[in-house]
């Protein structure tokens, strides 16, 4: 959470379910990263989700997350619709960068799920590029099964965990 300013945190704390990952690069897409290096930390407001220029709007109204079917990295029509919205926002905010995180559910071996998460992140990246977003603004990372969003061991949770999340770098938005 270090990349957000304290005030923004207070305002938007309830809406940050997708942003609670302690292993996200602290510096954001353009930051130096590295834990303990306070100089690499940047911050930016999430803003009001009703403001179409805000990161909160991207995360909540457009949707920062797309889901995948079991063992697949193919984008569903629903995922493509979300990603088209993401691409429009990114094209309208040329200063923003993003890290696309690929994730897998727990029903697979660790190594394979890392590779599968990379496939998913890459599929999202390729789609955004096809919609006109400059690939240089998009990084990918796979978390495999290391960072589930939902913790039960039922399909209802697995479906939420087979995902790719587009994380807008700090400093973007309003």
């Amino acid at each position: 959470m270090q990349k957000f300013s304290t005030i923004a945190l207070l305002v938007s704390a309830l809406a940050l379910a997708a942003c609670n990952n302690p292993d996200r690069a602290i510096g954001g897409a353009g930051g130096a990263g590295g834990l303990g290096g306070a100089g690499g930390i940047t911050s930016g407001a999430l803003g009001d989700p009703n403001d179409p220029n805000s990161v909160a709007y991207f995360n909540q109204r457009i949707g920062d997350t797309v889901r995948f079917v079991v063992d697949q990295s193919t984008l569903t029509p629903e995922a493509q619709a979300t990603l088209s919205g993401q691409a429009q926002w990114l094209n309208a905010h040329a200063g923003a960068t993003a890290i696309i995180e690929g994730h897998a559910d727990e029903q697979g071996t660790s190594e394979y799920n890392l590779a599968l998460g990379a496939r998913r992140a890459s599929a999202v990246q390729a789609y955004l590029i096809s919609q006109g977003v400059d690939g240089a603004r998009l990084k990918t990372v796979s978390y495999g099964k290391e960072r589930p969003l939902a913790v039960c061991s039922e399909e209802s949770c697995f479906a939420q965990n087979r995902r790719a999340v587009t994380v807008i770098g700090a400093g973007a938005g309003v």
Partner: protein, 446 residues
Amino acid sequence: MKMTGEQMLKQILMAATLALSPLSPGLLTAEARPRIDFNSPVIEPLPFAAPTFVDEGGAGDIAQAITQVVTADLQGTGLFAQIDPGAYISQVSGFDQPVAFADWKAINAQALIVGAVTNSGGQINVKFRLFDVFSNTEMGDGLQFGGGQGDWRRIAHKISDNIYQQITGEGPYFDSRVVFVAESGPKDARQKQLAIMDYDGAGVEYLTDASSIVLAPRFSAAGDRILYTSFESGSPQIKLMDLATRSSKSMGALQGNMTFAPRFSPDGDTVVFSLENGGNTDLYSMSLSSGQTTQLTNTPSIETAPSFSPDGSQIAFESDRSGNQQVYVMSVRGGEPTRVSSGEGRYSTPVWSPRGDLVAFTKQNGGRFHIGVMRLDGSEERLLTASYLDEGPTWSPNGRVIMFTRQSPGASGSAQLFSVDISGRALKQVPTDGAASDPTWSPLLP
């Protein structure tokens, strides 16, 4: 060898064997000796007696502690059964006193372990003899070990290894360590750090802090270095740790987004690993001395979890090129691989046995995970375990036991280390302070 605690090891002397007890000639046949035959379809645990080692001066609690570790090592194999010390008729009060064989026979002990410990100025000396009760004779020549007081546990494991070798005819493995990932925190924000411990869970030391996710530490064949995958840079990258200094470094500049699943070649110079670029994962190898990198596979499928054959000539790995994960073998130089697995379900994480005759794997089928072994031609598949989630086998140094990760389901589910004999016996949890995953067994310590 530069294992952790190397200084300790150097102090341990495999001292000259003790004087031989003369055997009655012609008394023994091989069949009469206490012996465990792994090829037998049913193995009855061999009953043994291990009276508390004699304190020959200053040993105090160490004598009892060593006796307990030796007993636990042997019992833990499932091949030996300790006779309740309360049933002992005879007591052993002196190391050199004549053995009351009749008393040990009467309680059906087949093997008797007699030991003694001295502790003088922080230096301990431990000696033991192994007796074949039914033949009224000694097995082997006895051994003694010297070391610092802190070495008592390793000395106990060496004693167990000697007894295990004499009775099973198999190689030793108790005096070994395991590197693994210690886990803490909730399932959706799990913290992971590298740790190392004795094979039985004792003596845990942490090698990294919990600031970054770390995965799958792997020993070099000499046991002096560890390869692992770290999220420290924000993306999974392979790192190389020198165990003596605990310092880690990156493997060098690689043209890729993410590198993971590394393993050492037997000679310790080459690392084989997965590299992801543009969403596709292939296998590469890198020479640590020259830095030269070679691409070994080039397909749109996922190739990962590579493992060298013990002679260093081949690599086993998993690929989903057929549509789902299967185990393949190829030359260390790459080229067309041969598919190994052919059964139902998915096969992954192949690891070559130290003897080279088997590969251990993870199998996923019908919503269950298994650890199994098979020959390199895919024949004689044996599933050793079944659970919600078993994965990541690693071999004991003698190729008799497999350790792996078992994760329980649900929101409160967590990973633990388990071990099982390659015949499927003696499945048990390896005790760790908290949750643990990704074990790799070290070579036998010197």
